[in-house]
Amino acid sequence: MSSALVFFTDLSAAPGKAQRELLTLASRFGTAVVAAATEISAEAREAIAGYGIGTALQAANPGRGFGEHELAVLDAALQHTDADLVLLGNDSFSRELGARIAVRRNAAIVTDVIDVSAELIATKDELAGSYTASAKSTTGVLIAAVKPNSIEDAPAGSAGTVQVTDLVLGDAAAPKVSIVAVEEKVASERPSLSEARVVVAGGRGVDGDFGPLEDLADALGAAIGASRAATDAGWISHDAQVGQTGVTVSPQLYISAGISGAIQQKAGMQTSKYIIAVNKDVDAPVFDIADLGIVGDLAKVLPQAAAEIRRRRA
């Protein structure tokens, strides 16, 4: 039976949706161990136990340098567990940690993973989601960066208490990269873009006013996304950018408004389950991939839809 190691760079009292999906995936393997580059709180331990996982490794972050602590923890946890599967987030930071350990420990690194079978075969998106590929490790260790919204979160019962061990890390060399400044982003009430079930995204057609999108997103409990044209214009934060150089999303529903559907935009959203596009131009390429295309003015269509959702719910 295979053993899985789930690695978290950070773990709050309430593990996030993508983290819970990783725990679900890990719980399918013979043994599963969680490692966190931070101390694991009592609440987080309880959450881990809910997946039938009874072992965890932790190491408090001394806050020296950038990424070096997380790398040391992942390396130590892999050696400690001798796992043949490492599961981590698909964010750029986690991927890079996995990538470095892959060359250090002669392991395979596979990104954009949507599933891992009992035989340790990873299924993944390829060419911006236009292909699905499967790959395995040739060295016995597979490091998989798993896309959010790929695994159905399903806590598999309780492991009682979680045995937590402090990882012993070797003496750290002087950090090569130091952190000069940290700017915390304003926490949003909305679900995180990469994890959201519904995304409402706006482009140049929004013409500076994301109000109608915010309103519809409120009605749907959705995250807000954007095209690069909208983020470049400064109408919304760069964090909202969906696409090749932004966030990749795979929600149940993606509502695209005032976005033409350039290849770099499609690269980040074409694996969405349902796509609704609202665009004034009947020839906009986004209509090629839309399940429902509305040729119209987003400033009229979106408020009407938001009001109708509220009316039906009332």
Binding site: I109, A133, V177, K185, Q264, I275, L292, I294, L302
Partner: protein, 273 residues
């Protein structure tokens, strides 16, 4: 200008020749490898070339002795990506060309590129794009930092260089933060499309590029054995690659005043509300 700021920098920019994202891209069903005809310089690597050129120009220009070497690996036509970088303004080219490279995964690619960087004497800085537009893994820059023992400054949305301290400062989006990071040389720097606006090669640049040298090396020339790269040197093995079924054709409606209602009807029919 201080002495330190004129200490010449040796910068290697890694460029990749990739299938044009504007066309349909295909994975060959026999070899399970990407069809590489119709390839161009990866658009994300243009930001890397620009970052290297800007760094040189801000620190005395090529007259100060800095070098920007555009390097690539891959079959014959990959050299076109080097040529494009030379037209933009890189000073010379380096092409690792060896049949044994075919089928290299990220780990094997990183091993080959690390050896290629080591082939260049006294490299201070390796610059790359944030990802390749074909494999999209974003893992090679971090692996290069690991293999070369260089500082890793990746996904930089802005880049500043302090010539006297020989230190780079970058901004990076990091989880729910924007962090400012600093490291001394040597370093591996990867830049995002937020970092700059890549220049277009002008006529002068295109003419000048014709006179620039491109060194071609094979694996033996950089001290690697064939089995260290390609499928044999890879830690992943691809078992299958299937084209996703095309999205079924959707319904297109023209708003005549009640399309917002139709939108909600669709949501209700698909049980999305």
């Amino acid at each position: 200008m201080s002495d330190a700021s004129t200490t010449p920098l040796t910068i290697v920019v890694l460029v990749k020749h990739v299938p044009d994202v504007q066309f349909d891209r295909h994975i060959d069903q026999e070899s399970l490898r990407l069809d590489r005809s119709e390839s161009v310089l990866s658009e994300l690597d243009e930001y890397a070339v620009e970052a290297a050129l800007a760094l040189v120009e801000d620190n005395g220009g090529f007259a100060a002795g800095h070098q920007v070497i555009a390097a690539t690996m891959g079959a014959g036509s990959s050299v076109n990506s080097v040529k494009k970088a030379l037209q933009m303004g890189a000073s010379s080219g380096l092409h690792l060309n060896d049949a044994a490279l075919a089928g290299s995964d990220a780990v094997a690619t990183s091993k080959a590129l690390a050896a290629l960087v080591r082939h260049v004497p006294n490299v201070d800085l390796v610059v790359t794009g944030m990802a390749s537009t074909d494999a999209e893994t974003s893992v090679v820059p971090a692996q290069l930092a690991e293999l070369l023992g260089f500082a890793q400054l990746t996904h930089a949305a802005s880049v500043a260089f302090d010539a006297s301290a020989r230190e780079l400062t970058v901004d990076r989006e990091h989880l729910n933060q924007r962090v400012t990071l600093k490291a001394g040389l040597p370093a591996v720097l990867s830049v995002t499309d937020q970092a700059n606006d890549p220049r277009y090669p002008n006529f002068k640049g295109i003419m000048a590029a014709k006179k620039k040298s491109i060194e071609e090396v094979d694996l033996a020339g950089i001290g690697l054995a064939a089995q260290e790269v390609g499928a044999e040197g890879s830690t992943t093995s691809v078992l299958a690659a299937e084209q996703r079924p095309a999205r079924p054709a959707g319904t297109i409606i023209h708003d005549s005043g009640d399309a917002g209602i139709a939108l909600v009807d669709f949501l209700a029919a698909q049980k999305l509300i």
